[in-house]
């Protein structure tokens, strides 16, 4: 078990090194940032001075090692555009994205699993069939279109909810939260539905098909034959057996909720890291792009590690196989 965890952490570190290389190579291969940072009326002396200041005149491997060393310490350099440390900018923006992602993820997991179980158990029922048909919308409509439709309906036509921004936020320590004000909560509703809908329907459809498969198994029939309550059969016996594949997909989807918040944040002008990233691309603000890339990959790697560990806690057979294998 411990050996497995160490092995997975080593793999994760390797993945991060590779992503770091990709992120870093952007500095050298995606245009020359100096062009953007200095205006039209620059002199060669200005250019050379700035190049030296930013360390861009050193050889590639030296720059890479420096970059890694700094990144490990949370130092991603100075934003070319804003002239401030990237880490500070990210920290400032992170709460918005994390809150949005948390609400969306919560929505996706709980609604997804709940509806999935419901549609599997009542698979003949009208409600279940209606939900299944509606879920096709969630799976097939692109995120930005859902966002725009929601804005049109609830902000423009009905005027119930704000169409952009985070509303009022409250500072708690270094964290700005929208959870504590009414306008902040209202502002969360549309973006989190937009962001979580695809994941929710995906999880729901997956849970449903896994449930239908499990409900056919002998141990479910045997559980019924032992006179267990339907609730115990469905949740204790059936749902638990669907969880391994569901957790795999859910883990990846949670990663993409954070990564693809970009689109939702753009549609709703949500002041998070995704919007920051889009703006950074427009201005070739490479330190911000690189840091964002690293941040997302750390999250993905972390989520994958958690998913692997969850397998163990759910399925005792995996534990046994591992002990034998080592």
């Amino acid at each position: 078990m411990l050996a497995f965890i160490i092995q997975r952490i080593a793999q994760s570190a390797l993945v991060l090194l590779v992503v770091g290389l990709v992120a870093f190579s952007m500095f050298s291969f995606v245009g020359d940032p100096i062009d953007n940072m200095l205006g039209q009326e620059r002199t060669q002396a200005d250019i050379d001075r700035l190049r030296g200041q930013l360390g861009l005149d050193q050889p590639f491997p030296v720059q890479y090692v420096k970059f890694l060393g700094n990144a490990v310490q949370g130092n991603f350099g100075i934003s070319y555009r804003q002239g401030r440390p990237v880490a500070d900018i990210l920290l400032e923006r992170a709460p918005a994205t994390l809150e949005l992602a948390a609400v969306s993820g919560f929505l996706a997991i709980f609604m997804g699993i709940g509806l999935g179980v419901f549609t599997a158990i009542r698979r003949e029922g009208f409600a279940a069939n209606a939900i299944m048909s509606l879920s096709l919308i969630g799976v097939s409509l692109p995120t930005f279109l859902i966002g725009i439709l929601l804005i049109y309906l609830f902000s423009v036509e009905l005027g119930w909810l704000p169409s952009f921004g985070r509303g009022e936020t409250v500072r708690v320590g270094g964290w700005t939260t929208g959870f504590l004000t009414e306008s902040g909560l209202k502002a969360l509703i549309l973006p989190s539905i937009t962001l979580g809908l695809y994941q929710m329907t995906l999880i729901m459809r997956l849970v449903r098909s896994e449930m239908l498969e499990v409900l056919r198994q002998d141990y479910i029939r045997f559980a019924r034959a032992r006179g267990l309550r339907e609730r115990a059969v469905n949740f204790r016996h059936a749902l638990k057996n669907t969880l391994v594949p569901v957790i795999t997909v859910t883990g990846l989807q949670l990663g993409s909720i954070i990564a693809f918040a970009i689109i939702t944040e753009t549609v709703f002008q949500w002041p998070g890291v995704g919007l920051l990233f889009i703006n950074a691309i427009q201005f070739v603000d490479i330190p911000v792009m690189a840091a964002y890339l690293m941040l997302i990959s750390v999250m993905f790697v972390g989520i994958n590690l958690i998913v692997d560990l969850l397998y163990f806690s759910i399925d005792p057979r995996l534990r046994a196989d591992r002990t034998k294998a080592h």
């Binding site: 141990y219 029939r221 032992r226 267990l228 115990a232 759910i314």
Partner: protein
């Protein structure tokens, strides 16, 4: 049989299909007394398991009980639905399935599966239920029951798992056990042990057993009486010795002739010509007549006679005849 635990009268199971109504079980009647083992034999598709599922109320829709009555312990149960039926399952009627490898939930400790069954039916505390779980495992001959209670199903061998399944079926002390091919999936060397265990446990408790199998050896070893099913109907019913040694229905005779016996040496096994008819293409009259060596005109016109007071053969021209074909 003065004290019938299970009493089935004219039980008919129907499956509506697009091409008409199928009757996998067609008007069968029998009783099983306290501590008695009734063997049900027949080919695959003869309706043996379907009858068992009808008794425990686990027919998978659209199959349903169309006619007839089922009494367990003097109470009519065939019309019970939902929670009322659930309370009987495990408590009054236990069931043992064919494949012990798939009957146990792989993600739950066997102790948990035992206690949840006990708690579902008996009004005892959790610690008392756990105590009973250990006792139940001990009773089915699992060594070190106190420790094994915390094991997962994959940590047991096939034979041991079937013992666990039997413990689960018996732990709420039902008065009737339906054993659906309990030894088919086991090694030959383990089969005899499992049958002996099932038989001794039920004899001690006075539990009635409905032993569904296609293995004549199992019947000879375990059953007190035997019911032979063919195409959803009872062909023959009687004490096991009589039916096995002097079968009266030509089908039983053919079945016995096609069972390998050591006493018969290397002689070629008899084969019943043809195959059991499909349910949607049953022949007129007695369903066995196209394959029967003794069939006469009457056999294709009239279905076989009813079994007189639940014994004998449903045949117009029961054996012995002068000429033995087998």
């Amino acid at each position: 049989m003065s004290e019938a635990i299970l009493s089935i009268r004219d039980l008919t199971v129907e499956i509506p299909t697009r091409h008409g109504i199928l009757r996998p079980v067609d008007g069968i009647s029998y009783d099983i007394g306290r501590g008695e083992v009734l063997g049900i034999v027949g080919e695959s598709g003869a309706g043996k398991s379907m009858a068992g599922n009808a008794v425990i109320g686990l027919l998978s829709p659209p199959a349903r009980i169309a006619k007839g009555e089922i009494h367990v312990g003097g109470t009519r149960i065939d019309h019970l639905k939902g929670d009322a039926m659930r309370r009987l399952r495990g408590k009054e009627i236990g069931m043992v399935f064919q494949d012990p490898l798939t009957s146990l939930n792989p993600l739950l400790r066997i102790g948990d599966q035992l206690t949840e069954t006990i708690l579902a039916h008996l009004d005892v505390s959790r610690s008392e239920a756990e105590k009973r779980a250990v006792a139940a495992l001990d009773e089915v001959g699992i060594p070190g029951a106190r420790e094994r209670i915390n094991s997962y199903p994959h940590e047991f061998s096939g034979g041991m798992r079937q013992r666990v399944v039997i413990a689960l079926a018996l732990c709420a002390e039902p008065s009737l056990i339906i054993a659906d091919e309990p030894t088919t999936a086991l090694d030959v060397s383990v089969q005899a042990q499992i049958i002996a265990l099932l038989k001794s446990l039920c004899r001690n408790r006075g539990t009635a057993v409905m032993l569904i199998t296609h293995d004549m050896g199992v019947i000879a070893e375990a059953a007190d009486r035997v019911a032979v099913m063919y195409a959803g109907k009872l062909a023959e019913l009687g004490p096991v010795r009589d039916v096995l040694t002097t079968p009266r229905h030509p089908y039983t005779d053919g079945l016995m002739g096609s069972t390998p016996l050591a006493s018969r040496g290397k002689a070629r096994l008899h084969q019943i010509p043809g195959a059991m008819p499909r349910l949607d293409a049953l022949p007129s009259g007695c369903a066995f007549h196209p394959r029967c060596p003794y069939a006469q005109d009457k056999c294709s016109a009239d279905p076989g006679p009813d079994l007189a007071d639940g014994n004998g053969a449903a045949c117009w021209f029961p054996l012995p005849h002068d000429a033995k074909v087998a």
